[in-house]
Subunit: 343 residues, 4 copies
């Protein structure tokens, strides 16, 4: 770390900082500048004590960390992209996979019908929420355990792996019996107890970026999972919270590129939650492919009311099928091929 | 809700929207504008189905909610500020309380010494973390259950109630035995399972605003607790995440004023986490009082290294005592008096 | 507009609002809800007085605008994309153009050498700043008028049109003599006097989005130019200011898609300023194409120090040439072809 | 500056960086870390070339500036607060001044009536916009030069100095004849040409923070004015753009405290533009005083429609008078006294 002293610090103050640096297990190296003095502390920042406490000293202006804080999930540690195997599907091996399904599981009929259509259009994993973290306690919270029976039956019928969100440790036991990828949602992206519990289950984890997580915080959340023995992590960019209100969130396409550069984990993009409006999904899906993503997660559902479904512009099964077709030229341009289910 | 149709929508499209509104349980009232048509849906938005699904219709441009989504915690429901009783202390009754203590409990000696000094300076509640959610898995995660024994002994010794953060449901049983106010931290502000569990414990809850929660999301998180039978909630503004990096977070002083206007719960401010730098704590504390806060939560701790403690500008016990003294004129200007421990 | 009254407003208050709406030139239509009353004001919001003043009434909670505020640049007004002709180049006609060049013009030799290399690699317009708005008054502010002679000579030599930023009205006369596209930078995106002056010059304008402009504000800035008689506007997305610090700005790829949907103007993307780091430029450039952009603006410059230039990862002329080649499959996938200079 | 090299950089790469540092006019000091090497560059960052160009080197990960970039306006340069004299009023001398008046000058009668009421309530400066930068070209843009006659007459009548916004250099000549403080609005906070022109007029300048300016950018904008020979600058915090939509902007109360700590200029707060809603103005005004502000700028205007004015909660002259009275205890608590007009 680098400790920047205030302007015109005295020799005594410099010695004070050097002493403190030494006591915390680092070697101090002092550079006397024209206006400010700087003490560089040499030592492994991930194993030693943090030097940030030095900011409390009167004479210290800033403490600047130098090392990256994540290790296990970094490209420096593992140059090759991690291949995450989910039953008959492998993510991160250069093929491009699409996870599709409704926001919430509503009924056997709904889920089965969407699953078949999604599979026919090329999706290789299914999504469907049964435990839904909702901003208001008066909103629909998901079918809960009842939805698991539906997911189990649908999985057996269409033979695709299932991605579903977990919101509390106490549901882990019943979920791992059916669900193939445990999703950590944006609201629980810093719920470290849940991350540890999910890690220990050994199941692949789809880790969404928090509403306002930095890229570093997102990768450190992945590091929590990896450090607890589970390397099977899929990162999911789903937009961040900004001042712009034309979209529900702002898709941070640069984060996809940075995650691919700095981290060895596969990255998927969720354009549905990023945009919050269907008309942008094609453009954002193509941009995700172009930026280097390994896959997409897209909400597909039939409208609950017959009278409305015809005119809806949302990603009904037919519009999803059109989307999938339109993505192929971009998948090829990116040097990838569309993911398949292994036999 | 208000459903705004796209420009120049047809009579047929308007009828489609009206039908959908009726099927969702509302009465439609259509206004034919010069460019756009608008359908107002009359009905109780908190008990009926959400109309946002109508955004999926081709002819719909926007759906705008009109009602407030929180009920139990609103001033409309309860005009008087909720008085939250925590052992011998009452928050929300017009007296101004200060919660003080270290970020983390480190040892019996440390905690006891700070507690005595904080009490002597006028603090009426103690804080001390034993389960710490940390961004990096390599950072100190708190003493855990071991820290409870320290909190219990200190509480007995200085006779002040204890505020401490809970990060997972499985710690609830051991914590309620010692801790007087369960704190929900910013990272768990949308962990609704935890909010429900904490609500059901019956203990007073200090609910921090999430890193990037809107004021509405913060009040809806409180609504989760209230709806689960626990009205003893203290809101805590601790800064929000913005582009400005001169402070760790941006203290949203307007949120204090809005929470006091729209919600009946008492509000405290945490200037330590908002600023992330000690030199701003006096100014932010005074601003919090001026904006109408019912209290403050301030980090006080002695520096771990003797050689350093003298020169530190952080809120050591003496600087905390000076701060407390400097706040009195502002507490008086706000028409409040400093909170006391009831006999 | 929609005027939402506070909960349980009286009949008298409703009549007050209706009267006010009428006096401002609209027809009021009142809907009596279960909790709140709502008054819809029918009339053309872009030609009548604003109703926002009604928020001052005690009984009014919110006033919600319904109409879009931009007219001339909207797709509703003009379904076809505007073709902006810049000398021998046409932007917005389905071909994909790349504007390349150094951030600042430094010398004839530098500019000429980069211009030739950029043209050889496929760029069809040149950029080069001579008036540089810099955050610090101590930073290099550009060559000023002296740089114009360089731009003139280079333009004549390589026969490509020139894009350069204007920062004040008093430079307009000398700039229009040489520069083919006047660039409005992010810092002047709300300098409406400058927008009007530039509009009246008749020259094509490249309008960058402000540091923290909403999409609506960006399109309204374009409306200022269009309303002053100049339809030759190229929008430029260059990233917005967010809490994320891993990139200089956050490229808002959704804004590109929205601008293409709602506005008839061509859109280019500046990945250099968005990312602030060279390693992301290929990914962001490809994402821009995939999201529907009509072009890119990319900084290309040779390193000023010979000793350094070999190892630099920045977009030196050779790396720019490699980038251009790598974009071709994505341009084809998007159904576009690479832009040419007309004979 | 500090140059951080990538992990495991070679001795050759370190020498390359050292050479580059030397060529840019600094002395390199290299510290060999366990994972990363760091080169500290010693020299005055405000007079030498920027080292950020080194980020282009393959082997460089980051370049971190150490020195503050503003000099003339820093507390380090001038420990005492600058006293800005505006006719018979002095800002920055420990007295607390309130600038009041309408957003826009609408008529002689309106302005005169508000001015008298504002003066009677204790305001010592008047505000009133005649050149209004508006987001939409269809909104009212101010009376323009016609408004100057009104300002001149009102100033003569009530004998208070006038603050008014300037939006372009070409208006400078006519404005300086009447206006006592030239206001730079948030939208022009980075219009450096305008800052320079205003500086050279010698008139006191009220400099608003930009919509999304960092504190550093705001102080550097002030530095532009100071560097051009004009030290008479009043900073104005008016809220920043964040994700929170409950207020028009988020008042950054910490910025007031930081500006007071790091900069010698007086600071006023504009709660009207920060909140965008009248009900928050009392709380935000008191918070501003508590955080150390030297004054406030508050919008006061009578409602244009008689029928409406009685019930309005906005800062009509009577509500402004009540506000002023309610601020006195906080002004006293802050150790200040209410500002007066000198005889």
């Amino acid at each position: 770390m680098i400790i920047v002293l205030k302007a015109h610090s005295s020799a005594k103050e410099v010695r004070l900082v050097e002493k403190a640096v030494r006591e915390l297990g680092y070697q101090p190296h002092t550079i006397h500048g024209e206006v400010r003095n700087v003490v560089a502390a040499v030592g492994d920042e991930t194993s030693h004590k943090s030097l940030e406490i030095l900011e409390n000293l009167d004479c210290v202006e800033r403490v600047i960390p130098i090392q990256k804080r994540y290790k296990l999930v970094s490209r420096e540690a593992q140059p090759e992209t991690t291949e995450v195997r989910v039953g008959p599907v492998t993510i991160g091996n250069g093929s491009f996979h699409v996870i599709a399904g409704p926001c919430s599981v509503e009924s056997m009929e709904q889920m089965l019908s969407i699953a078949k259509a999604a599979k026919a259009a090329g999706a290789t994993l299914l999504r469907g929420g049964i435990f839904k973290p909702r901003t208001s306690p008066y909103d629909f919270q998901g079918l809960g355990a009842e939805g698991l029976a539906i997911l189990r039956a649908v999985k057996k019928s269409v033979n695709l792996p299932i991605v579903s969100e977990i919101t509390r440790q106490t549901d882990l036991e019943i979920m791992v019996d059916v669900v193939d990828v445990l999703q950590i949602g944006a609201r629980n992206a810093m719920n470290y107890s849940l991350l540890e519990a999910v890690a220990k289950s050994g199941k692949p984890v789809l880790l969404k970026r928090g509403l306002a997580s930095t890229i570093e915080e997102w990768l450190l959340a992945a590091e929590y999972i990896a450090k607890n023995g589970n390397p099977n992590i899929i990162l999911c960019e789903r937009g961040i919270r900004t001042y712009e209100q034309a979209t529900r969130n702002t898709l941070d396409i640069s984060a996809v590129a940075i995650a691919k550069l700095e981290c060895s984990l596969p990255v998927v993009v969720d354009p549905s939650h990023a945009a919050g409006r269907c008309d942008l999904i094609p453009a954002l899906s193509k941009a995700a492919i172009a930026a280097g993503a390994d896959g997409l997660m897209i909400e597909v559902h039939q409208h609950p009311e017959d009278a409305l479904s015809d005119s809806a512009q949302q990603l009904t099964p037919p519009s999803f099928a059109r989307l999938m077709k339109s993505l192929l030229p971009f998948i090829r341009a990116a040097g990838m091929k569309i993911g398949k289910v292994n036999k």
